[in-house]
Amino acid sequence: MDTEPCDVAVCGAGPAGLAAAAVLGRAGLDVRLLDENPLPGGQLLRRSRKPTRGGLDPARRQGLRLAARSKGQNFYGKPLQRVIGIFADGEVLAVDAGHRLVRLRPRAAILATGARERYLPFAGWTLPGVMGAGAAQILVKAHGILPARRLVVAGAGPLLYAAAAETAAARGRVLAVLDQAGWREHWHLALALCRQPTKMLQGAAYLIRLQAAGCRVRCGWRVVRAEGRERAQRVVAVRSAPRGRPSNETMVFSADGLAIGWGLVPNLELAQQAGCRLVHDEHRGGWVVDTDAALQTSRPGIFAAGEVTGIGGGAKALVEGELAAFGVIDYLGSRLGGQVAARRRWLNHRRRRELSLGRALAAVTRVPPEALAGIPDDTVVCRCEDVTMGDIRRAVFSGADSLSALKKTLRLGMGICQGRTCGPVVLDLLALLTRQSPATLPPFGARAPIKPVTLGALAEGRSP
């Protein structure tokens, strides 16, 4: 099968990808917007059953407008295209819903693959009834299903409140939101939000709704155990004493559902596979794609935008999408109109503001060492390959002091999910157990195909 030439392949149709594609389309370029989801919009706009204009959040409103418009344009004609690699010669390989390969040869590419939730293992986290906060949100919003009869939401970061408030709005019973970060970290977040009144309002609206629904909101508490025989029946939390000292204050909830999440980690696999350099920056959420000011990665012609360059929310994604598009237009030698310079200045200014929000987000979602140190030995960390905390401690003790060494010793990260779930937390664990700086511990590598694809799809049209 031949490759199809085009100007730009935008990988990921979240806010960043949509914003980029809109600008590139206006510039008259032949753009292909590829996303593995059936609908454009990424994590920000996914899964609403009711038609909505986005409520208070300006990023969501703008994103929805872009998504609606993109559907009418030829660049988003085919949904469900999963990008599985970008190769040395620039070829972009994807696979569609019918298990057919899509082979593009763009002159430039934008990586806008977004982020996923980050999880922390604790005793009982593999019990049925324990789910990601994002999954709980999807159940409520996209399917109209309540995640549990009595739900506890626990972990860190603003997404917990969104998940809890949306469940409450659908008349679900939410017993508590347990936020690991203390008031101090939240104070910094509130300061950063001061310059973004709509987000502030949205946060307040969540809290008011939760209050009205009788949900307890507790900061500085973290879940240590889910108990139950067949499925989760009780959730046990402890108060994190200041400066990590252990505390014996506990709370027990009788709940049949527990939604968890500790902020987001970027989806770096495509960038890694394409050979783009990463940098470690704890203020942006750990390992992220390294870019220059025009958002070009270390690989010429490949740009990055949105959560992959640092966790910072939907508004940052929109701004970066547009900036990356301008970068691509420059790179391709196309001409930009007169007002573009001013627009870019304004976007860069906005980007700095959103980055400072990202910094505050990173602070509230940072996993405290005592949460890692307290994971019991029999707790499963890598669910695909059944690797326990004890296995990891023993392997580290006998000399495995890197992710790749753990992988070889324990098969950690070798299962279906390829370490997407356990990788980030194991990096934190390794840093703690071996006293190495996280910046010296590289994440799992990635090679094409970066996501599962059938052999039949790969073999199609090729003689043996």
Binding site: S404, G415, R447, L455, R462, P464
Partner: protein
Amino acid sequence: MKRAPATADAVVIGCGVIGASVAFHLALAGLRPVVCERADLAAGSSGACDGLVFLQSKKPGLHLHLALESQRRLEALRAMVPLDYEYLRCGGLVAIGDEAEHEAMRRYVAAQRDSGLDVRLVNGPEARRLEPALSEAVIAAAYSPLDAQINPMRLTLALAAGARQRGARIMPRTAVTGFECQAGAICAVATTRGTIRTRTVVLATGADTPRLAALLGLDPPIRPRRGQLLVTAPQRQILRHCLISARYIAVKYDPALAARSGQSVSMEQTARGNLLLGSTREFAGYDRNTTVDGIQAIAAACTHIVPVLKQVQVIRAFAGLRPWTPDGLPLLGPVPAVPGLVLAAGHEGDGIALSAVTGALIAELIVNGRPRIDLNDFDPMRFSAPASAEAAANGVSP
């Protein structure tokens, strides 16, 4: 950062399967070697390969003899190391796709039987009785009950752990950066964690060997020959045997053919149920990336032979660099120009299978001055002797 010891009985460079095996056997003989590994254990080709101990793919003669000896040792070693390496004598099939291959295999199998291998040809229906997943495209097969498979990463870790138990020191993330010589002989090895004084150095650096040898002004004719591999999600048992295509044997020893003919196939199902599907044979420098062409070629060739694989998902792909040599045989033994230097590299696609015997022979060479099996055919200097003109005339340079 831990410093390297000031002195050592011997320094082994590289902790792939070969370095680990050499260290294990040296420690077994009472020496206390130090192993310097640039990255992690099994970071090179030994962690990016299949685990076939496939006797049928070895050249009849000394090569096969060595492989048989190595297999016996791999079976015995299980009781001497602290980690299970999933050794399974599953038997192996060489799938034959057309009459020309069939004819070549008839001669090949006869020569192997003469070398003492238990192997026979079976027709298509018989092959499918042995391995029901095979398609009608397989017209015949060669079968040996001796072929086995192993987890190569765990084998490397197991040998290293066994060496450590017996007094070897294994140093990951310690790169060798230079050598010191006195009157032409090696007297010390410079590493990123300090200098180690020693009079015996074993180069077990696989495809990286030319880079290290260059520091001593040597250029052994080892070149990286890339192999891409696909890994599927775990499956219920699909394959009972390990399997290669007849083309695999041909391509292995003839790079010119590798360029002309279609993709050759190797398949095994691991203890966890994942299938390993390989593999390409390409000269692409030190590039360990996978390519569209390589991935597609493997998928097409494997689904042709085992059609049920079409529905199976690939969850990962990777590439390793086989240490290729012009005649397909490793370079084992001393280098007279640099006293103290011993080469144990260049095993191409056979390093896992030959690991045990390689380690044992190199240890015997270092400890007793001469190994039990004559290493003449593996002499590292064989290509610089006039005889190499013949290899050159065969046109088999990369």
